[in-house]
């Protein structure tokens, strides 16, 4: 027993605290975190309204949708896949919610469940074709991007649904314990998703799939099952984000979430996940999401138009990857 312990200890290289700190700081997440701190510093020195509690909480509210979808997207990108259909599932779920409530006359809780299930099914369809028929994820989700958006347009026929009961707005506009309600959804999801990715066999197998899918298959990992799970998860989270969004903006339209997939992917990639698979973390992704949202808000408060903001976000995306590559190469 004791010999085993010592041998294990010998196997782990001894690292001094300074060395460990250096490693953390120079990791992708560390670099990104420092960039974020610098950004916050600059933005709050530029504008008094930026670093206030109400503004920051409000920004958290606005980033919930992207944050929720970014979690499964991180999983998917780690497996070297991609899901372009999240924006369309988001819109489809919103429409299903509004349609089943207003036109079909479902009670609202049932309508919400229907919307979530429709997202789940949309994700299962993606996952099934990707794992069973071996359609490349990019193509599969490109096709369903058009298909799900088309379903949303077809079901809604261009009409919007409004006038939800008051209690429904609690999710998107209300507070719980002084913090916007949907943030609780995000916090819980982030913690669960982070633990699953970092600590469970399932989570670790995603990295294995991303690094070498064939190898993962031969090592006896349940590659197909795991792929199905993550795409289903993605569909579900997109639907959840869609429902929260409806609650936040009080209306349903079929073009909701158009282009959302790009925001989400940008956040995940900014967070250090390699599009080629095998690397990435929930922490990084969340820093990416927060960084983009703070940039948008801070620049807007400093009087930069939202169009100039998207230029800066594009530049930050390229720049952060460059810095990252540079640091990785030096190491």
């Amino acid at each position: 027993m004791s010999t085993q312990a010592t041998s294990k200890k010998d196997l782990i290289p001894q690292v001094s605290p300074v060395e460990r700190l250096r490693k953390i700081v120079l990791s992708r997440e560390g670099v990104l975190f420092i960039i974020m701190l610098i950004t916050v510093g600059i933005l709050s020195s530029q504008n008094d309204n930026f670093f206030t509690q109400s503004n920051l909480l409000n920004q958290l509210r606005l980033m919930t949708e992207v944050g929720l979808i970014a979690l499964p997207m991180t999983y998917i990108i780690i497996t070297a896949g991609i899901d372009l259909s999240v924006g369309s599932i988001f819109g489809l779920a919103a429409i299903v919610l509004g349609y089943s409530w207003q036109t079909l006359g479902f009670p609202l809780p049932l309508a919400i469940v229907t919307a979530l299930i429709s997202g789940l099914i949309a994700g299962v369809i993606n996952g099934f074709f990707i794992m069973q028929v071996k359609v490349p994820p990019l193509i599969m989700t490109l096709a369903t991007l058009a298909f799900y958006r088309g379903l949303a347009e077809g079901i809604s026929r261009g009409r919007s649904a409004t006038g939800y009961p008051e209690w429904f707005y609690v999710f998107g506009q209300g507070d719980f314990l002084g913090i916007p309600t949907q943030i609780w959804f995000l916090i819980v999801s982030v913690i669960i998703a982070g633990i699953i990715l970092a600590k469970t066999t399932f989570g670790r197998s995603l990295y294995a799939i991303g690094n070498n899918e064939t190898g993962a298959r031969f090592s006896g990992l349940k590659v197909d099952r795991n792929l199905l799970i993550i795409y289903t998860f993605s569909g579900f989270m997109s639907a959840l984000a869609g429902a929260l969004f409806v609650s936040r903006v009080s209306t349903t339209r079929s073009d909701m979430g158009t282009g959302l997939e790009l925001d989400v992917i940008a956040a995940v990639v900014l967070g250090g996940s390699s599009i080629f698979g095998g690397t990435g973390s929930v922490t990084g992704t969340m820093i990416g999401v927060v960084l983009i949202q703070l940039l948008k808000n801070g620049l807007a408060l400093s009087g930069v138009t939202s169009d100039a903001t998207i230029i800066i976000i594009g530049l930050v995306l390229i720049f952060s990857i460059l810095v990252n590559n540079w640091i990785q190469e030096r190491q």
Binding site: I139, L142, A143, E153, F276, G314, I318
Partner: protein
């Protein structure tokens, strides 16, 4: 000895047979085209016997419009079979393949007759009193085109086997197109009117042109999702130059030059700084769109000078976008097939390491692919900018997705290394045909996109199954 003589005789007979057969498509095509152009098609009460060209010259007459629905199919059949006949003479090995294609063309031509009959019944046309000889000749030739498949032919050498020549994505697309023309054409003959067919070709021409560049990029194993914003930006650059009094030549060439420059910028980031192309172009999407909106303030470009509107010009009765699509596709197709750089695109996309070891500088190749993509985006922008009276200041929604979709449905593997330029163009045309076909059969426009998405999926699945069967 007798055996040897009979063998030689057999060979001679075979040779003779083969020579005779190879003339059949050309002959049928010439008769078809000749009948279309020269023979009287119908007899009119006042004017007597009338050929198709004189008939179609009388535009504006509703009854004539109706009667000429689908006539282009016959014209197309004639031209296509003539071209195939010429190929047959040059390359007799392709005889069997061309026989099948000729039969297919015959079937397409035959669609005209039910269309004609339905128009005739529906409108109770009084415009002509009698069907004339040209009608019957073309019907006969169409049937002969189908029947000629029955003539026994010598088996083709291995490389020219029919399954090898026709077992590709292009064939799937063409078959899909034929099925669409037949089904929609019989439900609504107006789908086959000249105006509708030319519209199908023209509507997506700029997407097809952009898909050429996209295919090159994807073949090298990269992707460009910023191309929609790029096209919109280049179009506005071109339009602004034209409205601000610059010579038209500069306004036309500016999008090409700027496209190449921006493509070079993307290519440098991808090839030399090793940032994945999807990330670079994702960032470029935001950057270009932001620049466009800030620069224009969301205001569209109006008051374009008439001389600028290249896409509205005609040449031989066919509009410029269609010419651009055809000529650029053919040039790019040949270039990808025969030039050294074109081949190296495939090499880099197939296996970058192997390409590197065999002396290809894969960084330069990727850079060039992106520059060419910029060039084709420039051409697409030129067509997009000049097609209407105004230029929108925002990128058309889903443009980059439509372009990528065309490439991918055209058979370009997203993993790189395989695919052709022709497929992307055919796919762009097919998508346009689907979209317009759905209008003609009164599908609720709100369902258009979902049907389109479903069809993309079906095409991809058919392609996957075909490839899998070939591999086994």
């Amino acid at each position: 000895m007798t055996a040897a003589t009979s063998q030689a005789a057999n060979k001679r007979i075979k040779q003779a047979n083969r020579n005779l057969q190879t003339f059949i498509p050309l002959l049928l095509g010439l008769v078809m085209f000749g009948a279309y152009m020269l023979l009287p098609f119908v007899t009119q009460p006042e004017l007597g016997a009338t050929t198709i060209p004189t008939l179609t010259a009388e535009r504006g007459n509703n009854e004539v419009e109706v009667m000429t629905n689908g006539l282009r199919l016959l014209w197309f059949a004639g031209i296509a079979v003539i071209l195939m006949g010429v190929v047959d003479l040059i390359k007799p090995e392709l005889d069997r393949t061309i026989a099948i294609l000729t039969t297919l063309t015959g079937l397409v031509a035959l669609v005209y007759y039910p269309v004609f009959w339905m128009d005739y019944r529906a409108e109770e046309a009084t415009y002509f009193s009698q069907i004339n000889i040209g009608f019957w000749v073309m019907l006969g030739v169409s049937l002969l085109m189908i029947a000629q498949i029955a003539i026994p032919r010598p088996p083709a050498p291995r490389y020219y086997e029919v399954s090898r020549q026709l077992g590709n994505q292009e064939t799937v697309l063409i078959l899909g197109m034929v099925a669409l023309l037949v089904i929609v054409g019989i439900i609504n003959p107006r789908y086959l009117s000249e105006r509708s067919l030319l519209g199908i070709l023209q509507n997506n021409a700029y997407v097809a042109v952009a898909a050429i560049g996209m295919s090159m990029v994807i073949i090298t194993g990269n992707i460009d999702i910023s191309v929609g914003s790029l096209i919109a930006l280049l179009a506005v650059i071109s339009g602004r130059l034209a409205t601000n009094g610059f010579p038209i030549a500069i306004a036309w060439s500016a999008p090409l030059v700027c496209g190449v420059l921006i493509g070079a910028g993307i290519g440098l980031l991808v090839a030399y700084l090793r940032i994945p192309s999807i990330v670079v172009t994702l960032a470029m999407l935001s950057i270009l769109k932001g620049i466009l909106i800030i620069w224009t303030g969301g205001e569209r470009v109006t008051d374009l000078p008439d001389a600028f509107k290249l896409a509205q010009w005609d040449f031989l009765g066919i509009s410029m976008p269609i010419w651009f699509m055809i000529v650029l596709t053919i040039l790019a197709l040949l270039w990808m097939r025969y030039s050294q750089l074109g081949r190296s695109f495939y090499a880099v996309g197939g296996n970058a390491e192997a390409a590197h070891l065999s002396g290809i500088n894969e960084r330069v190749v990727v850079l060039q692919a992106f520059m060419l993509n910029g060039l084709f985006a420039g051409f697409a922008a030129l067509l997009y900018a000049t097609q209407f009276q105004i230029i929108q200041a925002t990128p058309p929604p889903f443009l980059e997705l439509n372009i990528i979709t065309a490439s991918v449905i055209g058979g370009v593997s997203i993993l790189g290394g395989t695919g052709t330029i022709l497929g992307g163009t055919l796919a762009a045309i097919l998508i346009s045909a689907i979209r317009s076909g759905m209008v003609f059969i009164d599908v609720d426009p709100f369902w258009l996109k979902s049907v389109q998405g479903l069809l993309i999926l079906v095409t991809v699945l058919v392609d996957l199954f075909r490839r899998r069967r070939q591999r086994v």
